[in-house]
Amino acid sequence: MAKPKLALYWAASCGGCDVAVLDTNEKILDIANLADIVFWPIAVDFKYHHVRAMEDKSIDLCLFNGAIRSTEQEEIARLLRDKSKVMVAFGACACFGGIPALANFANREEIFQTVYHELPSNSNDSGTTPLTKTEVAEGELELPELFDTVLTLEQVVPVEYFVPGCPPPVDLILKLVDLFASGQLPAVGSVIASDKTLCDECERIKEEKKITKLYRPHEIIPDPNKCLLEQGIICCGPATRGGCGLRCIEANMPCRGCFGPPPGVTDQGAKLVSAIASIYQGDNEDDIKRMVEEMVDPAGTFYRFGLADSMMKRKRLHKR
């Protein structure tokens, strides 16, 4: 019997998700034994035209990492969707927009202005910016067009499963592979992670959550045994799905929210506003003002990985 076909792709991402697949170490050989890798730009030399030549639904499993923010990424997402039986949003960027979706606090024009004109490290006296079409002696050159808004994979094509994380931990990758290999994939739409919050899984000592000052991680050396939130450090654990293996918590760093909202929570950022404001002690205007000042960048902190997937999706665009 022919082996199942596996495709992996990266869109707007850092490459960390692909490295996470390689982090399965010797288990990568099991994956290679189990499936034929038919497309994987970071590791295997197949091109887009090879994928286009495949029959529809001939790829059994596609692990798609990265958000969608250009015409090329959108095109390949649609292509792989057509060719794949099972599409997995792999990693925080594909699931929720991830770090690239912080660009949704700006738009394309502002990004180009900063990156190509204003950055002090630039040397761009002629003011060149990338164009989608450029005439040269040999003909016309084309570049993908950047969107104003970074999108999640599911905002572009239907997705069967979600594996969150920045990057997804090895045990969840292997769990997905096992479920796939044994034909036991759960209901479509499932998130391959825990159904609890990170706080539920965290083993730090938790007492009463009452804080009188918020600290940013560089302002304090946290007690490694006590709840970080109780020490005044913004930890996204109350409104973040568990299953990550507590990697940050065990490194004495607060949760940054890369597993997205837990079941039943629509908007991770709104939930975190509620949680932080609830435990901050203060009942007069000065206390409240101090809390708001200490929370330096609420939108960027609470939607660090989830802006594209939030109710607002982006900062409002005001165009001419």
């Binding site: 606090f105 738009n107 969107f147 104003d148 808004t149 950022g269 709104a270 506003v273 509620s274 932080i276 404001a277 609830s278 901050y280 203060g282 009942d283 409240i288 003002k289 809390m291 708001v292 929370m295 960048d297 609420p298 939108a299 960027g300 609470f302 607002m312 999706k313 982006r314 900062k315 409002r316 665009l317 005001h318 165009k319």
Partner: protein, 63 residues
């Protein structure tokens, strides 16, 4: 009391997302202040009407 803390923090976040401050208002009205309640609701309604319909992307492309 939690609400008194949540709303200012929420407003700071909404401002970062480009949402006008006037779209969210926190006020305290007792059950005996019917007139005041009606006045505040009318004010709020009129304020929102002047701001116009809310759209996520301000009418831009690529939502």
């Amino acid at each position: 009391m939690k609400t008194a803390r949540r709303i200012p923090l929420l407003k700071k976040m909404l401002a970062q997302l480009g949402i006008e401050d006037e779209r969210v208002r926190l006020d305290w009205v007792s059950a005996s202040e019917g007139d005041r309640f009606a006045r505040i609701v009318n004010e709020m309604t009129e304020q929102i009407r002047q701001l116009g319909p809310f759209s996520n992307n301000g009418g831009g492309e690529n939502g």
